[in-house]
Symmetry: none
Subunit: 383 residues, 2 copies
């Protein structure tokens, strides 16, 4: 049972000297920490602030530096787009250019999502050189373009110049095999410019982050598990699907998620349950809300404990201190409980207590082997 | 602000059970430890005793195993020789050979540095096949030879047999491209033998460690910093120059160094300040002197604190326990303070307290990413 409390780690409030997790009243987590073993994880590497994708891939046991997921693919996953093998996805912006063709606003004044949806419909469904082009809205000025066709490779440059006062860049192939992809992308942009000509201020598109699904071995292949994911936000369902988890339908509340766990408990041997609210509260700089959501999770935990999983891991994919209003590099508290863990002296689940935990400080990619060992699912290495 | 107290780590005195750092009265360091986060670093790898070059390269964020600096180059840096790109440097010994040409003393009775200087002048300035040969004294029987010319590569064997009763070895090319270098080195040795014939017991030279400046990306390139170095000893200035730091003129005392910091504080965004005395005291086996120098540094620290750097790192490049009279493999205490660090419960800067620090035990190469993160100078990895 892998319970991910997104952005769990924090920084101490200047008033109290206690972090969000330390402030929260968490009797269930503390009891689990007392029975289990604690520590701190680095999702990517000390000092490195992880995005959500690398943070989660590390928790699932995949080195996030080796398996970097491109921006286009992540955006597509984020809106739950049904990516197929071979699809090339790019992140797009509707933008504004002047009569010289120079970019004057990379976000076209942050148009509404409704307007974005209308414009996407205008561009969706083109076919260029037998490649079908699918365009879907994300939010505000953001959209994705998916190129679906034979033998496309994503090694092309961006058209987004990431600055104002210059023209969008011509997309170029970064290796000879990507010539066709570059050509099709440039034709798409030319046709988009024509289609948008009368739609000032959204009269141009900028594309970046061309990428395809990373070739990840599934968790079924790597760990011989039958894994399921419970997450109310699409992006985390998408990340779980990337590593071959089955996605369980669930509601939007924490209680819904734990209920889904209970209902499906007999049918899988690995669960990833994702709590989003802690990260959102941290990003909003709302210390108290983050505290309250941690307390809610702690409360819902009794549902999980009653199922008596062989191994319980509680951690986060990164820290999101309310003081920083952003993801951060600080290591994330982790607790592991199983019948076979070697308990340490930590009796409170908190950043400061985890410093002296028996797991020490270690890379997040080692969690899965550790959890598998505690489930007695690994063989001896060597004779 | 990277404050390196050379050879900082120690071993407990058998009388008191306390190390040099634990014995020293260090109110400023202790206060900083209480506000900051502590840990222990391994400069190269657990159990490996670092030389000064690997120790410092690791602190600057360069893997010292990948960027190994040849002996010749290190000796040249050590005497502040103005190396140019393409120069090949070798470490030399004046030695004694018998009438058969066999080595009878690899150090020619450890002649004085004055005598070494005279002999170097005898050999300096030769030109062989358009290669200019510069010879400079180091200390006692030690000198350096620098070969300056077109397209020389350092992949040649040593002439120093590292044992007695055998002849100096002919230098051979370790790859075909190094044939010219080997030939010129052998000609130099032949001419040196002739020039020294009447100078028994210093009648021969032994060369080893042919090397050139390693191709290190500068700290400016890697970290986009404008770094400056304050070090009273030439070798550390040389190491700082290797990674692109600007070298600030300073005096010989600790107070001079901190004054130089203050005077130049506005002009750079990274400072490396090096304290040599602790290492020298350790190598001399002088426990009490090492304690006193640590106390001097602690006292001077208030100057540094008044500048309010965003990030302060205090550590050493390796341990030099007075009991061992040498560099050692023991991990080195480190403290990091920034507005954004997550403080731990350590309130004393010492080897034993750092064991339970929030940074844990980690490779020294991770200090720079951590410091950069704490200065909010790193972007998020992945989406």
């Amino acid at each position: 049972m892998l319970l991910v409390i997104d952005g769990l780690g924090g920084l101490p409030s200047p008033e109290t000297g206690e972090t969000e997790l330390e402030t929260a009243n968490t009797p269930n987590l503390d009891q689990l920490a007392a029975k289990g073993i604690c520590g701190l994880i680095d999702p990517v590497s000390p000092g490195i602030t992880p995005g959500s994708a690398p943070g989660h891939l590390a928790l699932f046991g995949y080195n996030p530096v080796n398996f970097n997921t491109g921006r286009g693919i992540l955006e597509a996953i984020g809106i739950n787009f049904d990516l197929q093998q071979g699809d090339i996805a790019a992140r797009g912006n509707f933008c504004t250019t002047d009569e010289m063709g120079l970019v004057t606003d990379r976000r076209a004044g942050r148009i509404s999502t409704e307007r974005c949806t209308e414009l996407c419909q205008l561009l969706d469904g083109l076919v260029i050189d037998k490649v079908k082009i699918l365009v879907r809205p994300v939010r505000e000025h953001r959209f994705i373009v998916v190129f679906r066709g034979q033998s496309l490779i994503p090694d092309v440059s961006d058209s987004d110049p990431q600055q104002l006062g210059v023209a969008p860049m011509v997309i170029t192939a970064l290796c000879p095999e990507a010539d066709r992809m570059a050509g099709i992308a440039n034709q798409f942009i030319a046709q988009a410019r024509t289609a948008l000509a009368e739609h000032y201020p959204t009269n141009m598109v900028l594309l970046r982050g061309f990428s395809r699904l990373p070739q990840l071995p599934t968790m079924g292949e790597v760990y011989k598990l039958k894994p399921a994911a419970i997450a109310s936000y699409p992006m985390y369902r998408g990340l779980a699907r990337l590593v071959g988890m089955e996605i369980l339908e669930t509601g939007t509340s924490i209680e819904d998620e734990f209920m889904t766990l209970k209902q499906n408990y007999a049918n899988y041997d690995f669960f990833f349950l994702h709590i989003k609210g802690t990260d959102s509260a941290g990003e909003d700089g709302d210390f108290d809300r983050k505290v309250r959501i941690i307390e809610q999770v702690d409360n819902a935990l009794s549902e999980l404990l009653s199922l008596e999983p062989d191994v319980i891991v509680v951690t986060g994919d990164h820290s999101t201190p309310a003081l920083l209003r952003a993801h951060s590099w600080h290591p994330v508290p982790i607790l592991l409980y199983s019948r076979w863990c070697r308990p340490d002296r930590v009796s409170q689940f908190s950043e400061s207590a985890c410093v002296s935990g028996g797991l020490g400080r270690f890379p997040a990619t080692q969690i899965m082997p550790l959890a598998m060992a505690n489930a007695l699912k690994l063989n001896k290495f060597g004779a």
